[in-house]
Every structure is written in C-alpha cells, then in structure tokens.
C-alpha cells in the first residue's frame, strides 16, 4: 500500500503551484478558501447512483488480501471488519462487526471481542455471521492463496500462528460461542492488536462457502469478487478487472438489524476504471453524480481550486522525510544529523511538490489526522531548535556542526555520502534540492536516481546496500494508529534484511522503550499521548528530516454530498450521497 500510494501521489501532486497562503496552525486546511474536510451532515438523502471515475484499478478485493487505498474504498462499503473508522473520526476505531470495544486482559495477552448478532451474509450464503468466520478469515490470510501483506506485522503474535501457513487452525484464536472470539497472544501486544482488528483481515469469511475458492492460489474469492459473501450494505454486483465495478444494495443488510453505523445512502455505485485523469477530472467537475476514485492531476486541482472550491477537499495523508543512515558514518553522529536538520530549507522542499495545497511543512512525523499529532506538538512540533525555522538556520547548523566535531561549521570528513533518489518528478526535484543542501553543508555526495520501485526494493529497503541518504521516502500507515505510523519506520526491531522500512535504521533504546509503553496503552486518549511522546523522541533523535505532510485532493460533482473517510483519505462510498 505504501509504495503504490506514494506513486499515485507522485503523479497527482506534480508541479502544482498555487499562490495560496496556508495557515499551518489550523489543521486540515488546504489552500485558501477551500473548506474543512467534508464529513456527514444532517439531512443527507437516500437513493440515486454514485459514479466513480479512477485511472488505477483494484489490486485485491478479497478482504483477506486487499491492501490499497482503492481496494479499501470498496471493501469497507461491502464488508464489515470487527472494527473500523468512522469517516470523520480517524483517531479511534469504532465497533463494526464487533458489538463493543474489545476487552483486554491485565497481562495484555488476551483480547476478547463480542460479535453482533443479526449480521447476515449476502446470498447465496444468507446465514448469520459467527465468530468462527472471523477465525477462518484470519487463518486463511496466512495461506499462499490469500497472501495477506500485513498479517506478519500485526498477527504473528497469536499463539500457534505458524500452523496457519500450512492451512491448519490457529490455536490462539478461540471461539467459545458463536458471538465471542478470543485472541491469545504470545506477548503483551493486545493494546496495539485491538487497533489492528480494524484491518480488513477480520472481515468474516464463511468457511463452508469460501473453502472451495481458497483451494486455488490465488483464491477465487479475490479473482471472482462478485461471488464473495458480503456483510456490508453493498455487494459487488459486477466486476471486470481494469474496466468496471458495480456495487448494488446487499439484500441481506439493513442498518437496524445489522447494527451498522453506515447510512449507505446511494442505491448503486458505478465505478469506471482506466479513465484518463485529466478527462475524468473535467467530467467530475462539470458532470452529475461523479466522484474521483483516485488522485486528480495537478491541472484539475488548480482548476477546481480556482473555479469550483466547493467541489474539492484536501485530506492529510502520510508523511515524507529524508532518511539518514544512523548506523554508518558520518550520520552515526547525532549532532551531525541535527546540523543537517537545522540547515534544511523545508520550504524549498515543499515547493518541489507544489506548495501549500499539496501539503504542509512537517515539524515531526505524525501527520495531522493521526492520533498523537496534537500531543506531539501539532503544527508547531515538539519545539526542537533544529526544526524551528522552516527555511533553515545556517548559524544553528554551524553550531551543531561544531558540536559534531567539525570546527569550521561545515562537514570536512572523508566519507563520501551515497544518496539514492527517485527519478520521477516531483520526487526527482525533491532529491535535487536535498542534494544541493547536503553539498552546501560540505558533504561529498555520490547521487544516483533510479525508478521509484527500484529505489525501495534494491536500495533503501536493503540495509546491505549501505545507502546513507534516502531523500524520497515516506510512510502511510496500515491503520490510523501511532504504532502503524511509527513502529516499522523507527523501531530497531523492525529492521529486516529485505523490504526493510526503518530506513534510517534507527536503533535508539529510548525510542524502543517508549514504543513498548505506547504499544501497551489501550485507552485511546492515553495511547495518543504515548505515541505523541514517541514522536517527540524520534524527532529529537534526528534520524531523518521530516518535511512534508501530504494532502490528498478529492473532487466531486456539484450534486454530490461528499463524505471523506479521513483514515483512507478517499470518499466513503457508504456515506457519500446524491443531493
């Protein structure tokens, strides 16, 4: 999801330059005149067809393997995981298939979830959902037929999880009755685990029906998504890969008996894939009943901001930073890293992505919609002097350089710095600006720019490649939680030989310990505070230059009442309605 999405952003936000004065104090605000994020309003009407236009297609519509923004738009309208995020509340999960918040044992190793009664599958299954269906859903996710991309990150703490890869039940998932499911963990991880239960891996799958699909790899549940047993307000009625998808009402669903918070206003969703972004953008802005399924291109965003302010919104999403390898000289020196942070002109970096409308200058890592953002200091940040001036502070940089052992105030060491960037605009421009700033500080930089995917898979994701600077990395969380934002990118235990995401290879015991505490904090408010504290510590360790909090633009036709799922930065199809 991370890679895909940042590619989309890279295309979407290119060369967008608007003369808008952003006020970075108020969160979630895009360019001047564009209102706050559209959430549910009173008096939304039922009925009608919502048409979605997107350039990209879906990757996986099987809830067990879906792991991409577009997939989520459909999956969360057609299926019900145990927990999910209400569109306007990205800070905490809401019970969905679950009847109430999970209960966590004192030792943080047992999680008990009650499942709602009255939730029925769509035809042909038609029966009530039971706890065994959730158990099967998680078990199948570990098989090669489903090959879930995040199960290893959040569900390997389950007892007896190794059996799942061989198609055997996981002993750590118990179903004492049809409406209770108990998760037994090998380590105290429950507080984070309950947040991960918002991932679509917990969408119930009826084993007696799905087993025949799961015999094949990849599962037929994915390749023939119309045949899934749906639990959400909509069913996938028609799907032609790369062309078209139709959602229709689920005959087995009604909000009251199902206890579903989704209003499901529209009768039908008609999704066209493969639309040219420029053409689709114009069609949406001038047409009726249309919304964008993926990021509109810069000219369309400009047009909307200038002529149709009510038809565009900007949703914060993910962060971008310039990672320095803390395990290799010269960046193993924390003062040297602080000197880099102090010197960096983050305004110049922001301009490379199109300025204020594309996103805000970051002062730490948790972005505005993340739980813990405010606790980490909000827009102002934790208050470190080396991140105080967004345009850079050469004098301060020089003083940190001196502390790092370079009395001239410039880097005078022998080490050559290897930097690997993305060769696609606008990332290439960002890399160029970063390169200049490193050189200005006296670094001898060997710079190489490669394809986006190659940059990750062959260089930045591989510690053995010994890359010292990755100027084009960024992170999107799997779900809206501090752990999902900060663990993989900055925890020493997250460092892996392949597909590593701790790009700075930060090994900071203080950070690790704070993460441990935060992970085990269950209460949402306390948890946000704890992760905010982690963010402060990470930022203070200066492993990377945080410089950008992206904002994803979304556009809709005039007669559409838009509702953005803030956790996904895309339209919530079960909330958006026709006026």
């Amino acid at each position: 999801m991370r890679h895909r999405l940042l590619t989309v952003l890279a295309i979407g936000a290119s060369a967008l330059s608007l003369a808008a004065c952003g006020n970075s104090k108020s969160r979630n605000e895009g360019p001047a005149g564009v209102g706050g994020l559209p959430g549910p309003v009173s008096g939304q009407k039922s009925g009608g067809t919502l048409k979605v236009l997107s350039n990209e297609g879906f990757e996986h519509l099987d809830p067990g393997s879906s792991y991409f923004q577009l997939d989520y738009e459909v999956v969360y309208a057609t299926q019900r995981p145990l927990y999910s995020f209400k569109p306007e509340v990205p800070q905490r999960t809401a019970p969905d298939l679950a009847a109430a918040p999970a209960t966590i044992s004192k030792d943080q190793k047992t999680v008990t979830v009650k499942i709602r009664s009255g939730v029925k599958y769509s035809p042909p299954v038609n029966r009530e959902v039971t706890s065994a269906d959730v158990k099967y859903a998680i078990e199948r996710a570990f098989t090669p037929a489903v090959a879930n991309g995040y199960a290893a990150s959040y569900f390997t703490a389950l007892e007896g999880v190794d059996a799942a890869a061989k198609g055997k039940p996981i002993s750590g998932i118990e179903t004492p009755d049809a409406h209770t499911i108990v998760f037994k963990l090998t380590k105290p991880f429950a507080a984070t685990f309950v947040n991960a239960l918002s991932l679509p891996i917990t969408v119930p799958v009826p084993k007696e029906y799905a087993a025949k699909f799961d015999k094949k790899a990849p599962s037929g549940y994915d390749s023939k998504p119309t045949q899934q047993a749906f639990t959400g307000p909509y069913v996938i009625k028609d799907y032609q890969p790369g062309k078209h998808l139709v959602l229709a009402r689920n005959p087995s669903w009604d909000a009251k008996t199902a206890g579903d918070y989704r209003p499901a206003y529209v009768d039908r969703v008609d999704w066209t894939i493969g639309a040219d972004p420029n053409v689709a953008g114009r069609q949406i802005l001038t047409g009726q009943g249309l919304v964008s399924g993926d990021t509109p291109p810069a000219p369309i965003v400009t047009r909307a901001v200038q002529t149709a302010k009510g038809q565009i919104s900007f949703t914060p999403l993910g962060n971008r930073y310039i990672a320095m390898n803390t395990q290799l000289p010269p960046f193993d020196n924390v003062n040297l890293r602080k000197a880099v942070l102090a010197s960096f002109d983050r305004k110049a970096l922001q301009l490379t992505r199109g300025g204020v409308s594309a996103g805000d200058i970051a002062s730490h890592f948790l972005p505005p919609t993340a739980p813990g953002y405010a606790e980490a200091g909000g827009a102002q940040g934790p208050g470190f002097d080396f991140l105080k001036n967004p345009s850079g502070d050469p004098a301060l940089a020089a003083s940190y350089m001196k502390k790092a052992g370079y009395p001239s105030g410039k880097y005078t060491g022998k080490e050559k710095v290897v930097m690997i960037g993305d060769n696609n605009d606008p990332a290439a421009k960002t890399a160029q600006v970063a390169l200049e700033q490193f050189r200005k500080l006296g670094f001898d930089v060997a710079f190489r720019s490669v394809q986006h995917e190659t940059m990750y898979s062959k260089f930045c994701n591989v510690p053995k490649a010994k890359v010292q600077v990755c100027p084009n990395v960024g992170w999107l969380p799997d779900f809206s939680d501090g752990y999902a934002y900060l663990y993989a990118p900055f925890n020493s235990k997250a460092i892996v030989p392949e597909n590593n995401s701790n790009w700075p290879q930060l090994k900071d015991p203080q950070v690790d310990a704070a993460m441990e505490r935060a992970s085990n904090t269950a209460d949402p408010a306390a948890r946000a505070k704890a992760w905010g504290q982690v963010d402060r510590l990470v930022t203070g360790a200066a492993p990377a230059v945080p410089w950008f909090w992206d904002r994803q633009p979304n556009i809709q036709s005039k007669n559409v009442q838009p509702v953005i799922a803030q956790w996904n930065a895309a339209f919530d199809l079960a909330f958006t309605s026709i006026k």
Binding site: Q283, Q451, N499
Partner: protein, 320 residues
C-alpha cells in the same frame, strides 16, 4: 506459394519464441521490483516471501521458469496468471481484444476513406490551393500528439465536457454485443482521433507515390490510348501508387491490434494497449509477456499477410 507460406509460418513460430525469450530475459534482468516481495507487503515474514516465491515459481532457475512458461503456453495455450490483476492473462487479453479490434477497424476504414481521396486530389491538383490546404492540414494532423488531440476533441465535441455537445465522450465505451448504439457512439471520437494522423500520413504517402507514378511511361501510354483522365488516374495511376501503401497499411493494422495505448487511454477504451501499459506500470510480468507476445503475433502475421497480398497486387513479385 504454399511452401513459401509454410516456411514463413515456421519463421513466425521462431520469431515468437525469440520475442518471448527476450521479454522474459529483459524483465528478469532489469532491476524492477521482485513480484514476490511486492505481493508480500511491508515487514514480510521471510517464510511468506519464500512461499509466495515458490507458488509463483520464482525460486526456480530462470531457464526452468522460461521452460515452464513456454510449456504452458504451447501445450495448453496458457499465457499465465496476472497476480496484480488476479486474472488469467489469456482471458484478459481475449476480453480486451474486441475493443481493440473495434477501435482499429473503424479507424482504418475512416483513415482510408479520408486519406486516399485527399491524397489523390492533392496529387492531381498539385500545387493548387486545395493541395496546399490539405497538405498543410495533414502536417498539422501528423504533428499533433494523439493524447493532445484526444483531449482537445473531448473538450470541444463531447456531450459532457465539450463546448459543442456532439458525441458521447470518454468513459462511455460499451461492447458491441451489449449495446451496439452506445458502442458506435462511444467510438466516433476515438476513431477520429486515431485516424487523424494516419489519414494525414496516408494522404501524403499516396500523393507522393501518385505524383511519381503519373510521370511514368505507362501513364503516357494510357493517355495515348485516349482514356479519360479520370480513368488514367484511377485505373492506371492509383492502382500503381497504392500498392506500396498496402504494405504500410498491413503493418499499421498489425501494430494497432497490439494496442493503441494513447487513444485507448484518453477515451478509456478498454483495449489491449491499456492492458499492456498497466502491466508495465505494475511490473506484471505474465501480463507483459502475454501482451507483448500478442502484439508480436499480430505484427508478424500482418507482415505475412502483407507479403502474400503483395504477390497478388504486384504480378512481378513471386515467392518460391
């Protein structure tokens, strides 16, 4: 002739083998992302990556992978499975083929219907205003990027975002089997846009050929026979001038059947071109292989048809 065709068909097979081996090698050797890791996601369990690798057959040596691929292809006509699309490659290609054929055939008819008469008139009225105007227009049509032309025509003539609401716009394609009227309507502009540069090119080509042919001795003979000028031009001049164009036409059709990426993209006609483009964007090796092979097959077959057609068109050509 029969033996010639058989020999050429054998060549087709060899060529396709070479093409598939080349694409296989290129995408194996290029530093693109490892499909197994891509599929595994972040923080992957090494066991999961291993098992995906095994499922995809990526743990085998390259020659085994290639052999397996070719075996499935030749024995079962199986082009493999696209993991990013979660669909059978052959099914996908065959599913996209009608749109590509619709687009190509319509555009070919259109560009011949426009390009050939314009070429003839320009050649006959050489250096007259009508020649200057049509050749000027042709130059514009040839130089105009297809993508741009597509956008402009949509912004001008489409029913939804156009200035004049004439034709159905982008994202309206329907298969002919489902709704022939919608099919026709949705393809009018794509045909026009795709045909524009080809019509211009063919007009220029025919004009040039015809001007050359009209100074041939046999044209003088035809005139000396007392034939009407119209007959001289059409029956004697055009007949000779058009023969080389058949070669170009055959190849153009072959290439377009392999996918007209830009036109398909702007108007969202779900053809093979877009399928190939998306596959490349996503490092979807089986789909890349499949579309490249299909494209190569069309081009090679088009070449063969052109060569055979040439033997009928030009009696001086004989294959043994």
């Amino acid at each position: 002739m029969g033996r010639y065709i058989i020999r050429r068909l054998l060549w087709v097979v060899v060529l396709l083998l070479v093409v598939s081996a080349t694409t296989f090698l290129v995408f194996y050797a290029l530093p693109s992302a490892d499909p197994a890791v891509l599929r595994a996601g972040k923080q992957p369990d090494p066991g999961l990556v291993r098992s995906i690798r095994h499922t995809l057959g990526l743990d085998q040596p390259i020659y085994v992978q290639f052999y397996r691929y070719m075996e499935r292809l030749i024995v079962h006509g199986d082009f493999g499975y696209s993991y990013t699309n979660d669909a059978d490659v052959r099914t996908q290609i065959l599913d996209r083929l009608p749109a590509t054929i619709s687009l190509t055939v319509g555009a070919v008819i259109l560009w011949l219907a426009i390009g050939l008469p314009v070429g003839i008139v320009s050649a006959v009225r050489r250096r007259k205003p009508i020649d200057r105007i049509s050749m000027g227009a042709a130059l514009v049509a040839i130089s105009a990027p297809v993508y741009w032309l597509g956008l402009v025509s949509l912004y001008l003539f489409s029913k939804d975002i156009g200035k004049v609401h004439l034709f159905p716009g982008a994202n309206t394609y329907q298969p002919i089997s489902k709704d022939a009227g919608a099919w026709l309507g949705s393809l009018i502009m794509p045909w026009g846009v795709l045909a524009a540069s080809f019509a211009a090119f063919y007009a220029r080509l025919l004009r040039g050929n015809l001007i050359e042919v009209m100074s041939e001795d046999y044209i003088r003979t035809a005139r000396a026979k007392g034939l009407a000028e119209r007959t001289v031009i059409l029956r004697h001049g055009v007949r000779a001038a058009i023969t080389p164009i058949v070669t170009v036409l055959g190849l153009d059709i072959g290439i377009l059947l392999g996918g007209a990426i830009l036109t398909e993209s702007v108007f969202n006609v779900p053809g093979i071109g877009r399928l190939a483009y998306d596959a490349i964007q996503r490092s979807d090796l089986p789909m890349i292989q499949g579309t490249v092979l299909f494209g190569a097959l069309f081009i090679v077959l088009a070449n063969l048809v052109v060569d055979i057609a040439y033997a009928f068109l030009d009696p001086r050509v004989r294959y043994g």
